[in-house]
Each structure stands twice: as structure tokens, then as C-alpha cells.
């Protein structure tokens, strides 16, 4: 009788303990969101919507507006996604549909290696190897041959929006590739065989059987990559030039939301300065949450369909 009682106690305590730990995750998330809102209140109150429409960032005058950072984040991430998507989908198709099994496995693990490299090392390579190369080779070439376009005007600095786009592209390719690969692997073999049986070439099979089946999953992968690109801090901070300006030219330096936080937060001069950086963090948080949510919804709809068995 006594023994059962202690046993029940043990179970109860253990259950409470695990629940406490599990529950703490929910609490952490709520505290994080609450802190971000609370700490940005002074800036939210003072600047209102002007914070995201203005472009004046002056710590001495105490006026803060974040449009250049929003612009830099959005443009760099979207351009990086546009460049990374075809390369990633091509690589994923190569791994799943084209390469012999062993080659595919090796390629996939090499791509995973790319994902394991820390952001700061991309930044190190970017600032010491890539930007000098951009400055001496690529940017003069662009200015010479495409200089009539507004996107390639100005002097070649090396550190620029273009550098950020390139480094982000390299960094998000592994994410999009590996998720797309998973999506493509889930296309039923029978669909592919049916296309081949109709006499399709390999490319036609990919176009008719693989792509339509994986479309929303691939879109989910791309959006997840976008979320990663927007939140990326170190590598971008090191190569983008950190100048809060809105310029059409990809050759001029720019600034992003995470970069300004990384550069200024530790040395913020006033309460309002800190609050403004917090508000940028809050915007970043909301944007990444919305993006991740959309991506998960898309990927989830795909996996649910797979469980159902019919396309």
C-alpha cells in the first residue's frame, strides 16, 4: 500500500517536472515577444508609423527612422532568393533525378557542409576575399558593360549591396536545396514511371511528374530561405558597407536591420536609441515569424497530402 503511494508520488513529481521544462519553452517565447514590445515602447510612442516611412537616423539629434534598413534587408534578401532559387532547385533535381545514387549522396552531404559553416566565417571570407575581388574585377566589369543601367552606377567599393546579395545567396542555397531535395524525394515513384512509360524524356518527366507534385513544397523551401536571409546578421554586416542610404545602385553600400542592431546596440547612446533598435528588432521578429509561418503552412500542406497518399 505504502509502496504504491510512493510510486504514484514519483510519477506525479516526474510528470510535473517534465511539464515544467516543457512549459518553460512557451514561457520563454512569451517573455521574448513581451520584452521586445515593452522595450520598443518609447520608440513606438514617439515615432509611430513615421518610424518605417522616414529615413533619418541620427543618434545625436535623437531622431530615428528605419526605412533604409528595411529597404536594405528586403532588397538584399529578395535578390539573393532570386539568384539562389534556380541554382538550388537545379541542384536538388540533379541530386534526386539525375545523378547516380552515390554521386547524389556525396553532393547532398557537400551541400550540407555548406550549411554547417558558421555565418561569421562566411563574413570573414566575404570581407577578406570576396569584396576585394568584387572591387577589382566584377564591379569594374559591370560598370563598363552595364553602367547605363541605374543598378550598376557609381564607384566600385567592394563592400556593397551586391556583396551582401552574393554572400546571402551562398548561405541560403544549402537550406533551399536540402528542403527541396526532401520534397522531391517524396514524389511517388509510380508518377515518374508513368511519365517514362508514356515515352517522356527525363526532363519531360521532371516537368510533368516531379515539378507539379513538389511545387508548393519548393515554394515553402524558398520562403524558408527568405526568412533565413532576412535574419542573417554577421556575414551581411561584414560585407554590406553599413551605410544607411537608399540607392538603386547595387554597387553602393547599404545597411540591413540585423546589421544596425549588431553595430549599434552595445553602444546605444540614449534610451530612445536603444528603444529604436529594439523596434527594429521587433519588426525583424514579426517579419521572420510571418515568413516562417507561411513556409510551414506550405510545407505542411505538402506533407499532409503525402500522408493522404493521393496527389
Amino acid at each position: 500500500m505504502d509502496k504504491t503511494a510512493t510510486r504514484k508520488n514519483g510519477d506525479g513529481i516526474f510528470r510535473a517536472l517534465t511539464m515544467l521544462f516543457a512549459f518553460s519553452i512557451l514561457i520563454i517565447l512569451l517573455i521574448m515577444a513581451g520584452e521586445m514590445v515593452w522595450e520598443s515602447l518609447p520608440s513606438l510612442r514617439k515615432f509611430g508609423w513615421g518610424f518605417i516611412t522616414g529615413s533619418d537616423w541620427d543618434a545625436v539629434q535623437g531622431s530615428f527612422a528605419a526605412l533604409p534598413y528595411l529597404y536594405g534587408s528586403i532588397v538584399s534578401s529578395i535578390l539573393a532568393i532570386l539568384l539562389a532559387t534556380p541554382l538550388s532547385v537545379g541542384t536538388a533535381l540533379f541530386i534526386t533525378e539525375l545523378a547516380p545514387h552515390k554521386v547524389g549522396v556525396v553532393t547532398a552531404s557537400l551541400v550540407e557542409l555548406l550549411a554547417a559553416i558558421p555565418s561569421v566565417i562566411y563574413g570573414l571570407w566575404g570581407i577578406l576575399v570576396m569584396t576585394p575581388w568584387l572591387q577589382t574585377t566584377i564591379e569594374p566589369f559591370l560598370i563598363k558593360h552595364l553602367g547605363f543601367l541605374p543598378f550598376f552606377q557609381g564607384a566600385p567599393y567592394g563592400v556593397s549591396m551586391l556583396a551582401a546579395v552574393f554572400i546571402l545567396m551562398i548561405m541560403i542555397i544549402p537550406i533551399i536545396t536540402s528542403i527541396t531535395k526532401e520534397v522531391l524525394l517524396a514524389v511517388p515513384q509510380s508518377q515518374k514511371e508513368a511519365a517514362f512509360a508514356l515515352g517522356a524524356t527525363r526532363w519531360e518527366m521532371i516537368r510533368m511528374a516531379v515539378i507539379p507534385y513538389g511545387r508548393s513544397g519548393i515554394l515553402g523551401a524558398v520562403i524558408l530561405g527568405l526568412g533565413r536571409a532576412i535574419g542573417e546578421t554577421m556575414a551581411v554586416t561584414m560585407v554590406i558597407g553599413n551605410t544607411p542610404q537608399i540607392s538603386l545602385s547595387l554597387l553602393s553600400p547599404a545597411y540591413t536591420m540585423p546589421s544596425v542592431i549588431a553595430n549599434e546596440f552595445a553602444e546605444a547612446t540614449s534610451k530612445l536609441h536603444t528603444a529604436s533598435l529594439m523596434e527594429i528588432g521587433l519588426i525583424l521578429l514579426v517579419v521572420t515569424l510571418v515568413i516562417n509561418f507561411m513556409a510551414r503552412l506550405l510545407l505542411w500542406s505538402v506533407t499532409r497530402r503525402w500522408k493522404g497518399g493521393t496527389p
Binding site: 510510486r7 514519483g10 510519477d11 510528470r15 517536472l17 517534465t18 521544462f21 516543457a22 512549459f23 518553460s24 519553452i25 520563454i28 517565447l29 521574448m32 521586445m36 541554382l87 538550388s88 532547385v89 537545379g90 541542384t91 540533379f94 541530386i95 533525378e97 539525375l98 553532393t107 551541400v111 550540407e112 557542409l113 555548406l114 554547417a116 559553416i117 558558421p118 555565418s119 561569421v120 566565417i121 562566411y122 563574413g123 570573414l124 571570407w125 570581407i127 577578406l128 576575399v129 524524356t201 527525363r202 526532363w203 519531360e204 526568412g227 535574419g231 546578421t233 554577421m234 561584414m238 540585423p258 549588431a262 546596440f265 552595445a266 529594439m278 521578429l285 521572420t288 515569424l289 516562417n292
Partner: protein, 279 residues
Amino acid sequence: MTLRSLVMRRATNLSATLLMGLATLMVLLPLGIIFYHIIKMGFSSINPGFFTSIPKPPGEAGGGMANGMAGSAVMIGMASLVGVPVGIFGAIYLTEYGGGRLATAIRFSADVLSGIPSIITGMVAYTLLVVPMKGFSALAGSFALALIMIPIVLRTTEEQLKMVPVSLREASLALGVPLWRTSLKVTLRSALTGVITGILLAVARVAGETAPLLFTALGNQFWSNKLTEPMAALPLQIFNFAIAPYEDWHRLAWGGALVLVVLMFTLSLAARWLGRSKH
């Protein structure tokens, strides 16, 4: 007509194939170039002194990143002390007791948490620890790293626990073993290699994190032996030295990058090896 269209179709097929191959090459090319530079520049700056001495002022050759490596080890260790138990016990709750709305909410928050940019984690750690303690500290850095570890450990452990057959738990319960001992000694034990794999991956992930340490641990040019003071960390040193205009510091940064990359690959290879040997 049919012959021509067949030729066209084959040509399309060939060019699509070539394009896919080209895309793969273009994806792998940066990997090759980055590795080439890390290995070439890294090895030229690594010597025994690199692992035993602290950075020298710019202009003086030599010096090392011993304080950064030690600082990283300390903060990763402390982060694991919090992150691993919270992740594992949370996962036990989700698989063994959860199932209701609360479990869904917890799973969802873990997913959300793992998607939050790490710089925001740093900001929160700053307001929660740095401001009240009136100073940057290794403690705050560890806290930020722990927040990043928790969702990774939780989700990988949960996946592993889910794979343990129910019959195993039932067998244990039928022998009269209480549920809590069953969870720890049977369920967790049989999923242990997978759980350790998850922990290794989480450690590999936070070992390279820089952004959350920027305004928590802050970094330190010297040795620090107090958890309440700013502490050096390897990724922070790489960042600070890379953006400084001194050749000697750049060399140190490359050396640090090589150490970090070797560490990460060792961890992920170990994780993969563990994961494989199970099946």
C-alpha cells in the same frame, strides 16, 4: 515532323540536364573556394602558440586565440547545462504525457523559437540579464546560447523518443516499473544515441554563433575567469579581427576560422557516425 520533334525533345532534355549539372557545379564552387582559403590561410597562422597565448596588439606578429577558445568552451558548457535538460525533459513530456492542446502549443513555440534570428535572442538576453546585472557577462552569453539550444535538443529528442516502440514501454510497465523510471531507464535509454546526436548538432550550431554574443558576452582581449565579466569567444574574435584593418589580426581570424570549421565538422561527423551505427 515526328523525327524533328523527337530531335527537339532530346535537345531540350540534354540542355536541361546540362543546366542542372551546371547549377550543381555553381553551388559547390563557393564551397571549394571557401575551403581552399580557410585551409591555406588557416594553416599558415596556426602554431602551438595559437592555442596557448592570447591575441597580441596589432603590429606584433604571433599571438593566439586561447582565451577565445576557452571562453567558447565555458559558455557552450554552461549553455548545455541548461539547454540539454530542458530540451530532453521537455521532449519526454511531449512524447510520454503530452497530446493535448498544451503539447501542440509547446511544439509550436519550439518551432517558432528556432526560427527567431539569433541576434534577437541576444537582445532579449541583454534586457533580461545584462541590464539588471549592470554589465556584460559570460553568464548572459551562455543564457543566449542556451535559448538557441533548447528547441534544437527538444525537437531532435522528441523525434528519437517517438521511434521507440510502444511495446517496449508496455513491457517495462507490465513488469511493474513505474512510468517515470520507464521513461528514463527504458525509453530514453534506448533512444540515447539519437539524443546524443541531437545534442552534438546543437553544440555545433551554437559553437559558431556570433550575433547573440555581441552584446551579452561582449568579448575580451584578455583572460577572464569570472562569469560576471565580459568573456572572449572564438567567433567573436574572428569577427572583430576580420573587420579590423591589421594583417596580423586577419591572420589570427583565419586561424580561428580553421579551428571552428574543424570543430564543427568533427561534431557533425561524430553525430552522423552515431546516427548511422544505430541502424
